[in-house]
């Protein structure tokens, strides 16, 4: 009997422990208590971290609502996907460009918030669904071109402002290489290969070709000749950094900041912070993306720092209050300034630091169109990883442009059928 009692006691203890563990894993609180979770797509050394912490303290002091902040970059998307599958999303989280295409089923529409009237209409195409609903607060509006080290270009005899066609760009790369500097820095340890394809594709196709992509018909020849052939040409001519495979975003930032590379095809906001830490005097800016016909453009849309409120949040009122607080012009300006990025709200003006001159020259006049990131509008959700891998295989010489385009078509067809 003693053994039996011991067994029963042990089983009861185990059951109790299991219950306790289950309790630990439960997110949020049932009583609608004043505590919300806030997830950001951000690195630990981002200048924006201190700004968010300051704003959270201010919000808590004002409302009594506590905000539990967490941040990640490497696993952010995977974690959010797992949380979506479990319907256990953070109360407020960064939608990083995907508020409509990926997250809208899980987000509360924010149409009735007062700040929606101030959202830049240029974001409508990427941030509103077919019924006009908006699901995230765009504290960041990404407007990106090709990042340049202006000192390197000047030393190589390249007029950055005169690069309007891909032919001009190729000539500039040749001059930079002749000057002994790496023409393009890219990183196999990040998604920069995908950015490169996105940049080129955004203005590479006619409306009818774009419609074919939207209708689920991936044109292998068009992708190969209009997008990947440029990359293959740069690879063949040895224009990429020799450490491409093992390079990280920080390495890209370092090479651009120290004048070891001339161009980078990623949004400046993703490398600028590190670049200026390495060389505060770096003469970095951006130029519009060239095209075959000389029509320059920038690429952009919903930025990383855009925030939605989970539809199933048990603390929705508190979460909405927090988002409204972030949208207040003074607060939104602090965030945009720390990111060195445009704000998605028209009533917010941020100091863009070293990039201000580029913004003033290329964006402010409003004469150069901003194209949406190609994959977000014309390709099915989930294609991003395959875009990175296939472009990467061209940069490393593992695949020809045609083979890589074929690979991308396989993934396109699968995702389109889902």
């Amino acid at each position: 009997m003693k053994i039996t009692r011991t067994i029963i006691a042990a089983t009861a203890a185990l059951a109790g422990a299991s219950l306790a563990l289950t309790g630990c894993s439960a997110g949020g609180s049932d009583d609608g208590s004043s505590k919300i979770t806030f997830s950001l797509y951000m690195t630990a050394d981002s200048p924006a971290k201190a700004v968010y912490e300051e704003l959270i303290d201010e919000f808590t002091a004002r409302t009594g609502i506590e905000v539990e902040m967490s941040y990640d970059t490497t696993n952010y998307e995977n974690n959010i996907k797992v949380q979506m599958a479990a319907n256990n999303l953070p109360d407020v989280f960064a939608t990083h460009g995907w508020s409509v295409l990926r997250y809208s089923d899980f987000l509360a529409p924010l149409n009735d918030r007062s700040w929606v009237a101030d959202v830049n209409p240029a974001l409508d195409k990427s941030m509103r669904d077919s019924e006009g609903n908006i699901y995230a607060l765009p504290l960041e509006y990404t407007v990106a071109g090709i990042d340049v080290n202006l000192d390197v270009l000047e030393a190589a005899g390249v007029d950055a402002d005169a690069i309007t066609t891909w032919g001009d760009f190729d000539d500039a790369l040749t001059k930079v290489k002749a000057a002994g500097v790496t023409p393009i820095t890219a990183s196999g340890k990040s998604s920069s290969a995908g950015n490169m394809a996105d940049y080129i594709a955004s203005n590479a196709f006619s409306d009818s070709e774009k419609q074919k992509f939207t209708d689920g018909d991936f044109d292998v020849d068009a992708w190969s000749s209009a997008v990947l052939s440029h990359v293959a040409g740069w690879q063949k001519d040895g224009y990429f950094n020799p450490d491409y495979v093992s390079a990280s975003l920080d390495d890209m930032a370092s090479q651009l900041a120290q004048g070891q590379a001339a161009f980078a095809l990623v949004p400046a906001s993703s490398i600028l912070g590190t670049a200026l830490k390495i060389n505060p005097d770096a003469n970095i800016g951006f130029v519009p993306v060239p095209s075959d016909d000389g029509e320059q453009y920038t690429v952009g849309g919903e930025g990383i720092n855009s925030f939605g409120v989970a539809k199933a949040s048990k603390n929705k009122d508190a979460a909405l209050e927090f988002v409204d607080f972030l949208a207040e012009p003074a607060n939104a300006a602090k965030v945009a300034g720390s990111l060195g990025s445009y704000s998605g709200l028209t009533d917010v003006t941020a100091d863009l630091g070293v990039l201000q001159a580029s913004y003033d020259k290329w964006v402010a006049p409003g004469t150069i169109p901003t194209m949406p990131f190609f994959d977000r509008v014309y390709l099915p959700g989930g294609i991003w990883n395959a875009m990175i891998a296939t472009t990467d295989s061209v940069i490393t010489g593992q695949s020809t442009a045609d083979d890589a385009a074929e690979q991308l078509k396989v993934q396109f067809d699968t995702l389109y059928g889902q």
């Binding site: 053994i3 039996t4 067994i7 029963i8 042990a10 089983t11 185990l14 998307e77 995977n78 996907k81 797992v82 979506m84 599958a85 089923d105 196999g188 340890k189 020799p242 450490d243 491409y244 495979v245 093992s246 390079a247 390495d251 370092s254 959700g381 989930g382 991003w384 990883n385 395959a386 891998a389 296939t390 990467d392 295989s393 940069i395 490393t396 593992q398 695949s399 690979q407 396989v410 993934q411 699968t414 995702l415 059928g417 889902q418």
Partner: protein
């Protein structure tokens, strides 16, 4: 009559209860096994029959389409080939080095315990840390190896750009990290060989290499079986080191099946196809394990007879 019979019945019930109560002892283990292994495997099979993207509420039944796709997927073929290279390559190197160190450290000498600890120490290091360490060795800029080449006046090399070198480096890191496991298994095997057998062999004139191959190696068959199976399973499931060192690139060239499954599930948002790949990996490991155990059992029986 009724009183004694009811007492006997009560006694019988108590005895049955006491005997069956022992089943409660393994109930928690069974419950954990069911919750964390059986249910996920069954769910994995169910997901493999759908086109689920991994997070949305919608999914459609697609039958065996995901399994059929595996046969035409070049990336899967590359990952499968790499998986066998990682598994078999690491296993071979670990057996050779593990046995070598086991034989060397089976002898009595000063500092033997310290040497054993040094060989075993990498097993305790997280594979992510191990991968990161070697990333810092093999990376192009500021990589330790290229810094040494720079000091010697030799041009820097982009080591990880070459797929063959990258695969070899991954095999090497995994082998170095886990050879301590093999060494430990072989050490226990060596210490289990009765001294009389070796003495008898010596008296019969079998010494040195002859004694090693004629006496030691056959006696180590159970240790070989345990070590090979453990290392092979570890090698076939290799994930962390690849993820940190190359991320599966360039392109898809250094993926193992495990990293490809992660990329397929999260990156490509194809949870159904990733589940099908996972089931194939599971079956490969099961078949390899059964085949190896069968072969080692047969070899041991042949040697014993």
């Amino acid at each position: 009559m009724s009183a004694p019979s009811s007492a006997a019945a009560a006694l019988r019930t108590r005895r049955i209860w006491r005997e069956s109560a022992v089943n409660l002892m393994y109930l928690p283990a069974v419950a954990l096994f069911v919750v964390f292994i059986v249910i996920p495997v069954v769910q994995g099979v169910a997901i493999a029959l759908t086109n689920w993207d991994g997070y949305s509420a919608q999914r459609s039944f697609v039958g065996l389409d995901n399994f059929a796709r595996i046969f035409t997927d070049e990336n899967f073929a590359t990952a499968l080939r790499n998986t066998f290279i990682f598994g078999v390559g690491s296993t071979l190197i670990q057996q050779v080095l593990g046995l070598l160190f086991a034989v060397l450290l089976d002898r009595k000498f000063r500092g033997r315990g310290f040497a054993r600890a040094v060989i075993y120490l990498p097993v305790l290091v997280s594979p992510v840390v191990m991968g990161t360490m070697y990333y810092l060795v093999f990376r192009y800029h500021q990589g330790a190896l290229n810094d040494i080449l720079g000091v010697l006046g030799i041009a820097q090399v982009s080591w990880l750009s070459d797929v063959n070198v990258a695969v070899a480096v991954i095999v090497l890191i995994n082998s170095v990290q886990f050879m301590g496991v093999s060494m430990l298994i072989y050490l226990s095997g060596l210490q289990g060989i009765p001294a009389e057998i070796k003495e008898a062999a010596s008296l019969d004139g079998a010494t040195g290499w002859r004694q090693f191959f004629a006496i030691t190696v056959p006696q180590l068959t159970p240790a070989f079986a345990a070590s090979v199976v453990l290392n092979l399973i570890g090698g076939l499931k290799l994930y962390d080191i690849i993820q940190v060192l190359t991320g599966g690139g360039p392109g898809y060239a250094t993926n193992s099946l495990s990293t490809l499954i992660g990329r397929t599930y999260f990156g490509n948002q194809a949870a159904g196809y990733a589940a099908a790949q996972g089931i194939v990996l599971f079956l490969i490991i099961v078949v390899c394990t059964i085949a190896l155990n069968w072969w080692f059992d047969r070899t041991r029986n042949r040697l014993e007879n």
